[in-house]
């Protein structure tokens, strides 16, 4: 019984440690809700630390394709993400136009974009460290990199 208890404790501790390691960089969250007829609802929640890891399993030709499309912007994204990490709590942009509302900010080292407009709501949260990692990886696949 004691042995089983010790095994359970060991397993539990491993799960807690693995959880803490997986979520150490926070959560990548994308929520899109269209309240129009047949509107789509997309909710993606991922541990941010898994994204750079998952990129190692993406086929090379797909990364090259992504690099061709977005690679040129990646040095800029990388520079912004890297610098924004020095501002973990900042209100950057807030635009209100009647019922339309856009807010871009950083909170706890996470980059947050909130868009509210009649019939559609978009919320994106991504840790700045993850944006930094991904943009650096994609920049390597940019043409001429």
């Amino acid at each position: 019984m004691v042995l089983l208890g010790k095994l359970a404790l060991g397993f539990g501790a491993t799960v807690v440690l693995a959880g803490a390691y997986t979520f150490r960089e926070g959560l990548l969250r994308v929520d899109v809700d269209e309240s129009r007829g047949n509107g789509s609802h997309v909710h993606v929640w991922l541990p941010a630390a898994a994204v750079p890891m998952a990129m190692h399993f993406v086929p090379r030709h797909q990364l090259e394709r992504a690099g061709q499309h977005a690679g040129q912007m990646m040095p800029l994204v990388h520079a912004v993400a890297k610098e924004l990490q020095r501002y973990p709590e900042a209100e950057l942009v807030e635009v209100r136009d009647g019922e339309n509302y856009v807010r871009i900010r950083t909170h706890n080292g996470t980059f947050l974009v909130d868009v509210d407009e009649p019939g559609e709501t978009v919320h994106v949260a991504c840790p700045l460290a993850t944006i930094d990692d991904v943009s650096r990886e994609l920049a390597a696949f940019a043409p001429g990199a």
């Binding site: 520079a79 942009v93 706890n108």
Partner: protein
């Protein structure tokens, strides 16, 4: 007694002064004991381990809370440390960072508002990464540095080296305009009289900033140098536009929050 001096020295080191053969026997006994110890099944694997033999002494038990605390601290250290660092960075940045704020508040029915807060240092670092159209390497190319035969650089240099005063004053039925230099600031004031309500534009630019902007090559403005010069200025309002339907403010301070 000893066969060699070396054997004697070894025996002395072991703390055994007897004959060398006795020393060898003693070592053999210790080795046998060790083997026995390691061959045994560890006491903590017995189900009745507590009753048979307590693996922990009272002295060890006293350290349990300390060990538990250290384990918990090491578990949460990776999560806690960045937060603490972030908080420190935030407080440090609040002291040293300079922020450029833009507010546009419309008084129309929709009540449009735009609030933009940009850390100057961030802009300084990010702008050189943009290479698009006329903006490259933190400099923007403009085509009118020599507008209609007026050399803007020479004009600015003349204003910079001159004493404080009002250089241009226009007073008409439509508008009052004045351009002046006062305490190292370049001031432009426009009062539009045609508007049904009060309308006023005030621009205040430090001369050092203008000088830095014009420090680039011909037909170029060095935006990064301008921002760097702006960062060294104290809290101040740069642009203020008060119109009958909107208010625009651009100012500089060290706060990273909206008012």
């Amino acid at each position: 007694m000893y066969h060699t001096e070396r054997q004697a020295a070894i025996s002395k080191t072991r703390g055994f002064e007897g004959p060398a053969s006795a020393g060898v026997l003693e070592v053999g006994r210790v080795e046998a004991k060790k083997q026995e110890t390691f061959l045994k099944i560890p006491s903590y694997l017995y189900l009745n381990a507590q009753r048979r033999h307590s693996a922990m002494t009272n002295r060890t038990r006293r350290f349990i809370p300390v060990i538990a605390f250290l384990a918990a601290a090491s578990l949460f250290a990776p999560l806690g440390t960045p937060a603490q660092t972030s908080a420190n960075q935030s407080s440090t940045s609040a002291q040293a960072e300079r922020w450029l704020h833009v507010r546009v508040i419309s008084t129309n029915a929709k009540g449009e508002t735009v609030r933009v807060n940009v850390p100057l240092e961030l802009a300084e670092k990010v702008l050189p990464a943009i290479d698009h159209d006329r903006l490259h390497n933190g400099k923007v190319r403009i085509g009118c540095m020599d507008c209609d035969g007026v050399d803007v650089r020479t004009l600015f240099e003349a204003v910079r080296t001159s004493k404080d005063g009002e250089f241009v004053t226009v007073q008409s039925k439509d508008a009052d305009i004045s351009v002046a230099k006062k305490e190292g600031q370049f001031l432009v004031h426009v009062h539009d009289k045609n508007k049904p309500k009060y309308s006023q534009v005030e621009v205040k630019v430090p001369m050092k900033v203008v000088q830095a902007l014009l420090s680039a090559g011909k037909d170029e403005l060095d935006i990064v140098a301008g921002l760097h010069a702006l960062a060294s200025q104290g809290d101040q309002e740069l642009v203020s536009v008060k119109d009958d339907d909107s208010t625009i403010r651009v100012w500089l301070d060290s706060k990273n929050v909206t008012d």
